[in-house]
Symmetry: C2
Subunit: 193 residues, 2 copies
DNA sequence: ATTTTCCCTTGATAAATATCAATGGTATTT
DNA sequence: AAATACCATTGATATTTATCAAGGGAAAAT
């Protein structure tokens, strides 16, 4: 249990076995069936979730009922509504399972305890969030500076696992497109080979 | 000197006077005239810059020579090419001054020393990057889920200082639009009042 | 085995946005 | 004070993307 999570911890920071034991005490495992909610918009987000297995997405729904995907999370990734988690405000995102999932939840209390008592945990969190920030900035850069075709190619080369496991209409949503437009972009790309 | 920076430090974390003295030793002041470069694409980014005074932008330039603005930074904000700073790879962004600037530079060595020796500094950095991540995620959300009009309104209400101090064509670039389109969006909004 | 649901594609058309060109205003430089 | 550079706006047109509608195939449910 928690194998993927512990591996992720050790990859970045040199935790001792005692550190890991302490961390373990603060974790809660959770399984989720495909299509189940992890978080619903309007609820307060009380955890950060680490994905041991499976795939999830976070998204908003607009007035028309259209889903706009903010983030995917596969094995080894963290997912949460960070703003809600940090402030206690109602979540603006919904999170649900694209596949059956095994998660490791870090509650607000657990997070605060670990930050207070285990400096290495804070280092790990800092590295995680820094990596997430850099990745998000790259995504934004590609949105405002590349053509659709280039964006899609870049996406498939950076996240081939997502392309394989997630339906295309979700990738379209993640890119801010309609499924029809993404289908046409893909056609153009493949017809050119 | 460094007043704004120290205020930003104290706002988030309870630094002692000794802490601040230690930090001060690691800082380098820098002034920049309007239009001067702080960082050029291709160079390695060797610092994180805190803005004491003035305004800067980071951006990429595409094959056509068009500038795509990734970030603005006003007083109290940090700006850098974080990926280049962390990895030592050549920067993908250029940073230059929109107004005359007074900056506080934190070099790579300074950053590493402070992280190693001053846990509170790590906490401050973690809080900064977390805030930046949340803000970036909001920007992304508005790009993929709002109409142009709503996005511009949201931008002006979140960043009124930027609207006042930065030419509109730069805001258009930041939004991924042509100046003409932004001008028309603005016209629509104002004509409706 | 059949039905149902989900997903992707395609076509026709509408709407949004970019491009190109021109103008006038304002600030800055000379 | 004149000249220059910078900036925002507007119009005409082209391009891109969304919308609406339909169909077919594969997977999942019954």
């Amino acid at each position: 249990m928690y194998e993927v999570f512990f591996q992720a911890l050790k990859n970045k920071v040199d935790f001792s076995d005692e550190d890991l034991t302490v961390i373990k005490k603060h974790l809660t495992p959770k399984k989720l069936r495909k299509k189940q909610y992890l978080l619903q918009e309007g609820d307060v987000c009380k955890f950060v979730a680490f994905v041991e297995k499976g795939a999830l997405k976070s998204y908003t729904i607009d007035e028309k009922g259209t889903e706009h995907i903010i983030q995917f999370a596969l094995e080894g990734w963290l997912i949460s509504d960070l703003y809600s988690f940090l402030t206690g405000e109602p979540a603006t995102y919904t999170i649900d399972a694209i596949e059956d999932c095994e998660l490791v939840l870090i509650s607000k209390n657990a997070n605060e305890d670990l930050l207070r008592t285990l400096p290495k945990y804070e280092t790990w969190i800092r590295l995680q969030i820094t990596g997430a920030y850099v990745a998000l900035q790259k995504r934004l850069t590609s949105i405002i500076s590349l053509s659709l075709e280039e964006r899609y190619k870049s996406f498939t080369s950076v996240y081939p696992q997502i392309v394989q496991r997630v339906p295309q209409h979700m990738i379209a949503s993640y890119m801010g497109l309609t499924p029809e437009t993404l289908s046409r972009v893909r056609k153009k790309i493949t017809s050119r080979r």
